[in-house]
C-alpha cells in the first residue's frame, strides 16, 4: 500500500511491480544558483570587512557599513546562505536518488527554498541596521528566529516524509548524516535563541552570564558540527564516490565514524571557553572530548580520501576530484588543528588571536567552499543535461582558490602567533614587554593586507566559476525531471494506522509537528525560568542602571563584541594588563553575555574608571585621536544621534521578568533615572568643553563603559 501525496507523479501499483516516477530536479537547480549567488555576496562582504581591518577608512564613517555590523552579515551569509543552500542543493539531489523516491512534498520543497531565501534577505537588511541579539552566529532577532524554526520544521517533515515513502530499504550513510544535521540544528537553534522580546526587533536572551556562555558555545560549536560538518560529510559520501566512479573506501567505517562523531561533537562546546569563568570541570570535559573527536573526524577523512584508491590519476585531469580531495584534506587539517587548539596550554596562546581566524577559514574556505565547488561542477552540467563549458577554467578556479586559502591561512597564522606571543611576553624583571595593546595591533597590519589578498584570490576563483557556469547553461533549456523506476518497498507503519495515514498529509503533519515542538519547548522552558534562582555570588554586583542598559544595547547594536572581549583570564599576562581576572558572579545580570571571542582591540571587562568620560567621547568620535595607529572605526553618529529612551521602561520590565532584581519603581522611573544619570555625565563633558550631550547616545555608552568591571571593587 504505497503513499500518494497530492503532488506526486507516482503511479500506484501492486507490490512487486516496477513503479515509474521522477525526481524533482528543479528544486536542486534553485538551490544551486542560490548557493552561488549568496556565496559571492557573502564573500564580497568578507572582502570588505577584511579591507576594513587593514585600512580603517573603509568603514566609511557610516553606521550600516561599519565592521561591527558587517562582520555578522559576512558570517551569517557564508554559513547559512552559502553553506546552507549548498547543503540543501546536495541533500535534495542525493536524498531522492538514494531513497528512490521523489521528495515527499513539492510544496514543502518550495516553501523551504523561498522561506530560506527570505530569511537571508531579512538578515541582510536587519544586521547592517544594527538589529542583533548579540550572540555569535545567532545574531538574528527573534521574529527571524521563529521563521528559521518554521522553515526548518517544514524541511524536516519533507525529509522524513521522503524517507517514509522510500523504495530503498537501506538508509545510505549520507541520509544518516542529513538526519543528524536536521534534528540537532533544530534543537540547537531553538534552545540558544530563547529570548524575551522587548519590541519587534529587540529581545534579551533568557540566559545570562556563564549560563549564556555555555548555551551559546554549545550552540556555536555544534553549528560547526551539525551545519558545517555533518551535512557536508553526507554530501561527501554521495558526491565523492560519484565523482570518483568508485565506492566509498569502507562502508563499515562510515557507520562507525558517523555514530561516534555525532555522540562526541555535542560535548566540545566548552573549548571556546577555556580559562574563562566557566567551571574547571566543564572546561576539562570540553578539552578531552575535543581531543577524542580526532578519531571519528579522521575516520571520515580517511574514508573520503581512500575512495580514490585506484583512481588517483583522476586528480591530474578532473577538477571535481581536485576540489573534493583538497576539501577533504582541509577537513583533516581542521579536525586535527581544532583538537590541538582545545588543549589548554596551546589555547592560552591562541585564544582571541588571528590563529583562530586562520583555523576557521581553513575549514570554511577549504572544506565547505571547495567541497561545494566540486559538487556544483559535477552537479550543474547534469542538471542541465549538458557538458561543463571549460575544464581549463575549472582548473584555474581550483588553483586561484587554493593559493587564496594558503595566503589567507599563512598570513593569519603569522599574525595570530605574533599577537599571542606579544600578549604573553614578560621581561626578566617581570613586566609586560608590550604593555600597550596598540603595539600588538600595529605590527600585524601587513598581514591583514595579505589576508585581504588571499580573499581576493578566492573570490576571483569564484568569479571564474560564475563565468564558466554561465557559459555552460546559456541557451540551454533545463531538461524535464529525471525519470526513474524502482520496485516499491512495503513499509510497516511506525506507530499504528492513524499515524500512518497522517504521515501522508504533508501540510497537516508539518503543522502538528510545529505544535508538538512548541509545546515541548514551552513545557521545558517555563518551569526552568520559574525555578531559576539568580542569587548573585558576589554581593556587591548589582544590575545595570537604566542608562547603562541603554548604553549596553548600543554596544551590542554596534557590534563592539566582535572586536573586544570582556573576559580577563586568570593568567598573569592578563591580570598585569587588564586588572583582576573576571569572576563568574560578575556576569549574572548580563543578558546576553558579551565575553566575546576575539581581541582585535583590548579586553574591556575592567575598563570602568580607567579613563575620564571625555577620553571615551573623543575615542568613540575618532579612535585615532587617542591612539594614532588604531584601526577601530569612527563612531561620530553617537555624538549626534539622540538616545532612544522610549523603550527603557519596557527593557527594565523584561529584565525583571528574566530574574534581574529591579524593583517596580525601577520600571516606572527608568526614564527619569536615565536622564538624571545622563545629566551628570553631560555636565562632566561640558566641563571638558563639549556641551549638549545630555540626550545623545554617547552618554549612554560612556555610562556603560564606566560601569564595566567596577562592582567587585566596591
Amino acid at each position: 500500500m504505497t503513499m500518494n501525496p497530492s503532488n506526486s507523479p507516482d503511479v500506484a501499483g501492486a507490490p512487486g511491480n516496477i513503479e515509474q516516477f521522477s525526481y524533482d530536479d528543479a528544486i536542486v537547480r534553485k538551490f544551486v544558483w542560490a548557493t552561488l549567488l549568496w556565496g559571492l555576496i557573502g564573500m564580497v562582504v568578507g572582502l570588505l570587512v577584511a579591507l576594513q581591518l587593514a585600512w580603517w577608512p573603509a568603514n566609511m564613517e557610516t553606521s550600516w557599513l561599519s565592521f561591527g555590523r558587517l562582520r555578522p552579515l559576512h558570517t551569517n551569509a557564508v554559513i547559512f546562505a552559502f553553506a546552507g543552500n549548498a547543503f540543501f542543493a546536495g541533500m535534495y539531489y542525493s536524498t531522492q536518488r538514494l531513497l528512490k523516491a521523489r521528495m515527499f512534498s513539492d510544496a514543502l520543497s518550495k516553501f523551504h527554498f523561498w522561506g530560506w531565501q527570505g530569511i537571508i534577505v531579512a538578515a541582510a537588511i536587519t544586521l547592517p541596521l544594527g538589529f542583533t541579539a548579540g550572540k555569535e552566529y545567532a545574531e538574528l532577532e527573534w521574529p527571524i528566529d521563529i521563521a528559521i524554526a518554521l522553515v526548518w520544521v517544514g524541511m524536516a517533515v519533507n525529509m522524513f516524509g521522503t524517507i517514509a515513502k522510500r523504495r530503498e530499504r537501506h538508509l545510505y550513510v549520507a541520509i544518516w548524516f542529513y538526519i543528524a544535521s536536521i534534528v540537532t540544528v533544530a534543537l540547537l537553534h531553538i534552545f540558544n535563541s530563547l529570548a524575551l522580546p522587548v519590541s519587534f526587533m529587540k529581545s534579551y536572551s533568557v540566559y545570562a552570564g556563564v549560563q549564556d556562555a555555555l548555551v551559546q558555545w554549545w550552540y556555536g560549536h555544534n553549528a560547526v558540527a551539525f551545519f558545517l560538518t555533518t551535512p557536508f560529510l553526507g554530501l561527501m559520501y554521495y558526491f565523492m564516490p560519484k565523482a570518483a566512479e568508485g565506492p566509498i573506501y569502507s562502508y563499515r567505517l562510515s557507520i562507525i565514524h558517523f555514530w561516534s562523531l555525532v555522540f562526541l561533537y555535542i560535548w566540545t562546546g566548552p573549548h571556546h571557553l577555556l580559562f574563562s569563568s566557566l567551571p574547571d570541570w566543564a572546561q576539562t570535559t570540553g578539552m578531552l572530548l575535543s581531543l577524542m573527536l580526532i578519531a571519528p573526524s579522521w575516520g571520515g577523512m580517511i574514508n573520503g580520501l581512500l575512495t580514490l584508491r585506484g583512481a588517483w590519476h583522476k586528480l591530474r585531469t578532473d577538477p571535481v576530484i581536485k576540489f573534493m580531495v583538497v576539501a577533504i584534506t582541509f577537513y583533516g587539517m581542521s579536525t586535527f588543528e581544532g583538537p590541538m587548539l582545545s588543549i589548554k596550554s596551546l589555547n592560552k596562546l591562541a585564544h582571541y588571536s588571528d590563529w583562530i581566524i586562520s583555523h576557521v577559514h581553513g575549514g570554511a574556505l577549504g572544506w565547505n567552499g571547495f567541497l561545494t565547488f566540486g559538487m556544483i561542477y559535477w552537479l550543474l552540467p547534469r542538471l542541465y543535461g549538458t557538458k561543463l563549458h571549460s575544464l581549463k577554467l575549472a582548473n584555474a578556479h581550483f588553483w586561484l582558490g587554493l593559493i587564496g586559502i594558503l595566503v589567507y591561512m599563512i598570513s593569519m597564522y603569522i599574525s595570530g602567533l605574533t599577537q599571542g606571543l606579544m600578549w604573553l611576553d614578560f621581561d626578566n624583571d617581570g613586566y609586560l614587554v608590550y604593555p600597550n595593546f596598540i603595539e600588538t595591533v600595529a605590527v600585524v597590519i601587513p598581514f591583514y593586507w595579505l589576508r585581504f589578498l588571499g580573499g581576493v584570490l578566492y573570490v576571483a576563483g569564484l568569479l571564474v566559476m560564475f563565468y564558466n557556469l554561465k557559459q555552460t547553461v546559456s541557451g540551454v533549456t533545463p531538461p524535464e525531471d529525471t525519470k526513474a523506476e524502482a520496485a516499491p518497498y512495503e513499509r510497516k507503519p511506525l506507530m499504528g494506522k492513524f499515524h500512518y495515514k497522517l504521515e501522508a498529509k504533508p501540510m497537516m503533519f508539518t503543522v502538528l509537528t510545529v505544535v508538538a515542538v512548541l509545546v515541548g519547548t514551552i513545557l521545558e522552558i517555563v518551569p526552568m525560568l520559574a525555578v531559576e534562582s539568580n542569587v548573585p555570588t558576589i554581593a556587591s554586583v548589582k544590575p545595570y542602571t537604566p542608562l547603562e542598559l541603554t548604553g549596553r544595547d548600543i554596544y551590542i547594536r554596534e557590534g563592539c563584541f566582535n572586536c573586544h572581549s570582556q573576559m580577563v583570564r586568570p593568567l598573569r599576562a592578563e591580570t598585569e594588563r587588564y586588572g583582576t581576572y573576571s569572576k563568574s558572579g560578575e556576569f549574572v545580570y548580563d543578558h546576553p553575555f558579551l565575553w566575546g571571542s576575539k581581541r582585535t582591540g583590548p579586553d574591556l571587562h575592567r575598563i570602568g574608571g580607567k579613563y575620564p568620560d571625555m577620553w571615551h567621547l573623543r575615542h568613540m568620535e575618532d579612535p585615532r585621536s587617542m591612539f594614532a595607529e588604531s584601526i577601530m572605526p569612527s563612531y561620530p553618529w553617537l555624538l549626534t544621534d539622540q538616545m532612544d529612551l522610549a523603550k527603557i521602561g519596557k527593557k527594565i520590565k523584561v529584565m525583571r521578568q528574566l530574574g534581574v532584581p529591579y524593583s517596580e519603581q525601577d520600571v516606572d522611573n527608568a526614564e527619569s533615572m536615565a536622564k538624571a544619570q545622563a545629566k551628570q555625565i553631560a555636565d562632566n563633558l561640558a566641563a571638558s568643553g563639549v556641551t549638549g550631550m545630555e540626550d545623545k547616545e554617547i552618554t549612554a555608552l560612556i555610562a556603560y563603559l564606566q560601569r564595566l568591571g567596577t562592582d567587585i571593587k566596591k
Partner: protein, 52 residues
C-alpha cells in the same frame, strides 16, 4: 550552573532518541548488508555520457 538543569535532560532526551534510532536501525535490518550499499548508490544515474 543552573543551566545544567536544562541541558542535562535535553542531552538525555537526545541520547535516548539516538539510542532509539540505533535500535530501529538494527531491527530494520539496516546493518545486515554493509557491502552492497556502497556500490548500489553508484548505479542510480540514468545518463551514460560524461558531463566533464
Amino acid at each position: 550552573m543552573g543551566i545544567l538543569i536544562l541541558l542535562v535532560p535535553v542531552t538525555l532526551v537526545l541520547t535516548a532518541t539516538a539510542v532509539g534510532a540505533w535500535y530501529w536501525a538494527c531491527h530494520n535490518r539496516q546493518f545486515d548488508d554493509l557491502d552492497s550499499p556502497a556500490y548500489k548508490m553508484l548505479l542510480d544515474d540514468q545518463e551514460k555520457e560524461d558531463t566533464i
